[in-house]
């Protein structure tokens, strides 16, 4: 099992969700985050007072998938989230030791 953590542009969230559910992914967690990468921040001006905003708003999604589904899922995220401009985000993949569904006690693949 793999955990996919993807940082994407907030307005691409719906596209990514649609692409993943089409593959049969049955759940994900979404968090609004701020961060920086290669995309530069911006400045804001309030009555002449200028503030540099270094962190851009992004959306983080976390999806757990069976190992054999990983490449398909990653390709789907890339296809859905890509604009080709700086700031499209990143995907991190890590191994997942165990998964447990709290309600039933099912584990691993059965719990995904």
């Amino acid at each position: 099992m793999k955990l996919i953590t993807a940082i994407i542009k907030p307005f691409k969230l719906d596209d990514v969700r649609t692409a993943l559910t089409a593959l049969g992914v049955s759940g994900m967690s979404v968090t609004e985050i701020k961060g920086f990468g290669r995309q530069r921040g911006h400045t804001e001006l309030y009555r002449g007072a200028e503030y540099a905003v270094d962190f851009a708003p992004k959306t983080r999604i976390e999806v757990a998938v069976r190992a054999e589904m990983l490449e398909q899922a990653v390709d789907a995220i890339i296809a859905a989230a890509k604009t080709g401009k700086v700031g499209d985000g990143k995907i991190f993949i890590s191994d997942l030791e165990r998964v447990i569904r709290i309600r039933t006690g099912e584990t691993d693949d059965a719990a995904l």
Binding site: E44, L45, Y46, R47, G48, A49, Y51, A52, V53
Partner: protein, 465 residues
């Protein structure tokens, strides 16, 4: 009777204070006696009363009374929630509740003070034991403000003979409320709540009431000199703005100013607040006609066009100099225009209003940005930059643009300058004095650690998420 004894005690206290004030009065009298080049011919006809009187019910105009009740409510709405939201949206998240609280608490405090002595100090005329500098105590606790059902009589103020005195007193109360509340913009995010209450209470009685008496009570010394202030450019805005500058200087800069982001929490609140101020301001300016008449209509029209002109002027100035037309900018420009048209509104044509608005929009933009930066004081939300400077622009231009056809009076820039200079000097020095006194007694400013945590949690034990 108990109330008589109280009144005697008040009277003795007053006589004592008045004795101490003799020297100040003599000085003010000397200043007052220096001739100016033009004095407005605003002498009332003999039949017009010069003090509150008792009249029968049929002397009251239903139309005027309805409009003045509405105006009073509109001006109250300017402070809560208008000004509270306008300022509340501009501070950081940790200070939003504290900033809303300031406007709300001032509304309550000044209401009680106004009932106790404020109305009397500001609007008791010369014939009832007052001076050109301060009203007497004859109307303390609204004494003499009556409504007699069986006799079909009620009291009216000499400043509004077609409406009940209760309505006039409440209308003026709403001005007495918003003026100190405006000062809060200058010391936002760092003043102790207890110190703020002390300051506002003392300032209301020692600065607002006397200046209102000088300018608006016909026997007041600036009114006698012919200073024109239709709805409060001098009494409200210059007065509040200069007190704000004194407070910004006395309290010092906020922790981290210039190094940390002090971006506003939520400008949505600020836009809602500015819009409520704009709507409420028709009670302020058109209501200052104290009648539902043509002059109120003229004040209304001048207010609307001046505000629009100032908002556009600020927006375009910012667009040209800084690259983007900001939301905070257009809202600030509207407030600057409302401030500047305030003293002029019942005296000028709407066309003159456009000129006043354009001037205020551009001048207040620079006074709130580059001028503030150059001098380095932390007038956090620009109480001085918008209200004092906008008030001065309006007061002086009133002298230039006054229409005799509308107002029946002549204006003079020199006379207006008298009103401006006197208010600036008196307001600044008295505010410094009161602030110093409070600093010694209770301390003005919260500790650095409390300031970092925010006033919401440290002063009020609450927070927003």
């Amino acid at each position: 009777m108990r109330s008589d004894q109280n009144r005697d005690a008040f009277g003795r206290l007053w006589a004592l204070l008045a004795g101490r004030l003799c020297a100040v009065r003599a000085l003010l009298f000397l200043l007052a006696s220096i001739p100016t080049c033009a004095i407005a011919d605003d002498v009332a006809p003999a039949a017009v009363p010069t003090e509150p009187t008792i009249v029968s019910f049929d002397k009251i105009s239903a139309g005027d009374t309805a409009w003045m009740l509405t105006s009073s409510a509109l001006v109250l709405m300017m402070t809560i929630p208008g000004l509270a939201l306008f300022y509340g949206g501009m501070v950081r998240k940790k200070n939003v509740l504290a900033t809303l609280m300031q406007s709300f608490a001032i509304t309550c405090l000044v209401t009680i003070l106004w009932w106790v002595v404020g109305y009397s100090l500001a609007f008791t005329p010369g014939t009832a034991g007052s001076t050109p500098y301060i009203g007497g105590l004859a109307h303390w606790a609204m004494n003499g403000v009556v409504y007699r059902h069986d006799a079909m009589q009620l009291s009216v103020s000499h400043l509004g003979i077609t409406i009940p005195e209760t309505v006039y007193a409440m209308f003026q109360l709403t001005f007495a409320i918003i003026t100190p509340a405006l000062i809060c913009g200058a010391f936002a995010e760092r003043m102790k709540f207890s110190a703020m209450l002390w300051f506002m209470g003392l300032w209301s009685l020692l600065v607002y009431c006397p200046v209102a008496h000088w300018v608006w009570e016909p026997s007041g010394w600036l009114a006698q000199k012919g200073v024109l202030d239709f709805a409060g450019g001098t009494v409200v805005h210059i007065n509040a703005g200069i007190a704000g500058l004194a407070a910004a200087i006395m309290l010092g800069k906020r922790e981290g100013l210039g190094r940390e982001s002090m971006a506003p929490y939520n400008l949505t609140y600020t836009v809602i607040g500015a819009s409520l101020l704009w709507v409420g301001w028709f009670g302020f300016n058109a209501g200052s006609a104290v009648a539902a008449d043509g002059r109120a209509g003229m004040a209304f029209a001048a207010t609307q066009v001046a505000t629009a002109a100032a908002a556009l002027a600020w927006m375009f100035t910012e667009w040209v100099t800084r690259g983007k037309p900001s939301v905070l900018g257009i809202a600030s420009g509207a407030v600057a225009g409302l401030v500047a048209i305030t003293p002029a509104s019942g005296y000028v044509t709407p066309s003159a209003g456009v000129i006043i608005g354009l001037a205020a929009g551009v001048i207040c933009y620079f006074s709130s940005t580059s001028v503030k930066k150059a001098f380095g004081y932390d007038d956090s939300l620009d109480a001085f930059g918008v209200h004092c400077i906008g008030g001065i622009v309006g007061a002086l231009l009133t002298g230039v643009l006054v229409s005799k056809e509308i107002s029946g009076v002549d204006g003079s820039v020199l006379t207006q300058l008298w009103g401006v200079a006197t208010t600036l000097i008196y307001g600044f020095l008295m505010s410094l004095l009161i602030l110093k006194l409070i600093d010694v007694l209770v301390g003005l400013r919260v500790g650095a650690e409390e300031e970092r945590q925010g006033l919401d949690i440290t002063q009020h034990g609450e927070s927003i998420e």
